[in-house]
Symmetry: C2
Subunit: 204 residues, 2 copies
Amino acid sequence: MAPRGSYSKGIAKRTEILDAALELVARVGFRRTTVRELADAVGLSQSGLLHHFGTKEQLFTEILRYRDEVDRRTFAGPAGGTGSGELPAAIVNLVRHNAEVPGLVQLYSRYSSEAADPGHPAHDFFRQRYEQARGDLTETITRLRTAGRLPADLDGDRLAVLVFAMIDGLQMQWMYDSSIDMADHIAFFWEMILGAGPEPHSRS
Amino acid sequence: MAPRGSYSKGIAKRTEILDAALELVARVGFRRTTVRELADAVGLSQSGLLHHFGTKEQLFTEILRYRDEVDRRTFAGPAGGTGSGELPAAIVNLVRHNAEVPGLVQLYSRYSSEAADPGHPAHDFFRQRYEQARGDLTETITRLRTAGRLPADLDGDRLAVLVFAMIDGLQMQWMYDSSIDMADHIAFFWEMILGAGPEPHSRS
DNA sequence: GTCTATACTCGGATAGAC
DNA sequence: GTCTATCCGAGTATAGAC
């Protein structure tokens, strides 16, 4: 169970690569995100990098998976939500953060639309990701409904679909017009639905 | 003004190509939509096809522009709306139609995320397209508000952004799970906002 | 206008030395 | 584990004949 020897070293290197990849992509965008460029950025040759991940598709899938993991730690934990773990506010915070890392938004957008093809190696990753995200949100909506903060007859499944659709779609428009404030629009949506919205700011 | 001679023939050929392209893409998806495949489908060689459009990017941009044109004729005209030209219902009908042409949805999704890079030849096309669409919808929202069907203090600009975000985002989730009924979710959204929704069915 | 043929570029994969 | 070197395929663009 406890990683040791060359095994733990492999894991460490992998994480180091993924960290560097996140930083690079966030800065330079998807355009320059080829295996070669990524290899250069982490100080490896192309084949040296691919040694750790196999194929380009696997590498990029891991980058996105790792990003989710980091984001989850940051925004779903005690520092991210409103303290009571309210998902709506956590989502607004996450979206606000995304506006700071345009390259990652681009990568996510491009890769998710490419992987929409059922034959794509990352297809299952995204399918499961959406399923999980919707499931989690539906659960939270049920909680809010029970607490009387949402209409009793509201369809939680449908609402969950809409929320994630909005996040993806806002990113698209934002990439074409960065003056669009994504977090602001999400908050606006919650206001329309909830009446009085949750407080989106958890710090400052 | 009246096209004649080789000029009108060129236009006719162009339209013929675009019609065939729409049909092909709708059927086989983006995966097989390379310049060569497209050329085969319309009975031309690759260079014969590119003769009419210049580059691959210009060709695909024209395909999407032509698609918009066809859709506008179909869904913004007297047969598409509710008769009173209500945009919300027209949108629901358009989205319902999109579910019938998965290949075109895939093409649109992939191409719009690729062109999000400011250096992409189709970047301006999509930027203007979003701007125009939002402008049109904002106008309609103002009309609805004046007619008392929307709250007087509703922010039309923000709502317009959200509606198109939802359309794009729903397509994404639908590509990963075709059991998601896009039109149904759009109608659900209007219901939450409008209270009683407009009738989405204009025929049948 | 359209064809055939070819050249060129890019990017991912692989072999084998160290 | 990492490198260098090579290969290979996909896909676009172009040259030149008809």
